[in-house]
Symmetry: C2
Subunit: 162 residues, 2 copies
């Protein structure tokens, strides 16, 4: 299969300059504010977006080098298959986060509940749409019973090479 | 910013060999079944995944060439900014879909509600986790009032070069 070459469309600015202490998920970000600096060449693509309350960010885990097929996630003390986790050391180091969209000023998007490192390269922005992204009656495997804890859990360096 | 080079981890098999008539979203896929053929080298990464009911697939819109910053989405007759739509002609042609995971047999994942073209290159699999992916109290901008229609809407060729 052919390789796919992607070019960042902007940068995510967040309060988190270091892995240590970063929330591991948007729900743990406690309302942390951030900004997206979209490259000006993509400005026209932002039309109509401000009427959505939440957006899905797709970004590069730019501090993660290489990958492991079994990892010990922040939420567990056992090795789990990488595809059953949201850990960054993935074969393709791509992350997704749903964040609240506060406002847009020119090419700057102000966002809330951001859980990524400062200067993270952004690959895409998609609107969060209830009837396709909001799934009911789900089972969450090894995370069952741990979801409360997830909201307060902070990151450490296990998946990064700084 | 540096370019990011990704290598597909497998292929998505679906009943949709042509763009015309393909559901535009998983909720419109009416239970369509498909399979993921994961490359055998990534097999160990599937451990623990079968206990999750839903997974998020990240894939390449491999039939979409180039991009447009304003598009007329399937759900509308007005031009909308590409980032306020889920249309495939994006600066980085990456799609995401939440699908139901039926079972896993070796490197084959059986999935339901698949809404992508047959032979779509797969980039990542992530578990769908209720308390980070299931967002309440959302606004969906120009899609307000159109979400029922979205479930039955089928694709046409407008975004593809076949």
């Amino acid at each position: 299969m052919d390789k796919l070459v992607l070019k960042p469309i902007g940068t995510i600015k967040s309060p988190f300059n270091s892995i240590e202490g970063m929330p591991i998920q948007p729900t743990g970000a406690g309302g942390a504010h951030g900004q997206i600096e979209l490259l000006p060449e993509y400005l026209d693509g932002l039309q109509d977006l401000e009427d959505f309350s939440h957006v899905i960010l797709i970004y590069q885990f730019h501090k993660s080098k290489g990958y492991e097929l079994k990892v010990k996630p922040f939420m567990d003390d056992q090795l789990r298959g990488i595809f059953s986790t949201r850990a960054p050391k993935r074969p393709n180091p791509i992350g997704i986060s749903v964040v609240k969209l506060l406002k847009i000023e020119d090419n700057i998007l102000h966002i809330e509940n951001i859980d990524v490192l400062n200067e993270t390269p952004l690959l895409d922005i998609k609107p969060y749409i209830s009837n396709i992204d909001n799934i009911q009656d789900i089972k969450i495997g090894w995370l069952e019973g741990k979801s409360e804890e997830m909201s307060s859990k902070k990151s450490d360096k296990r998946f990064y090479n700084e």
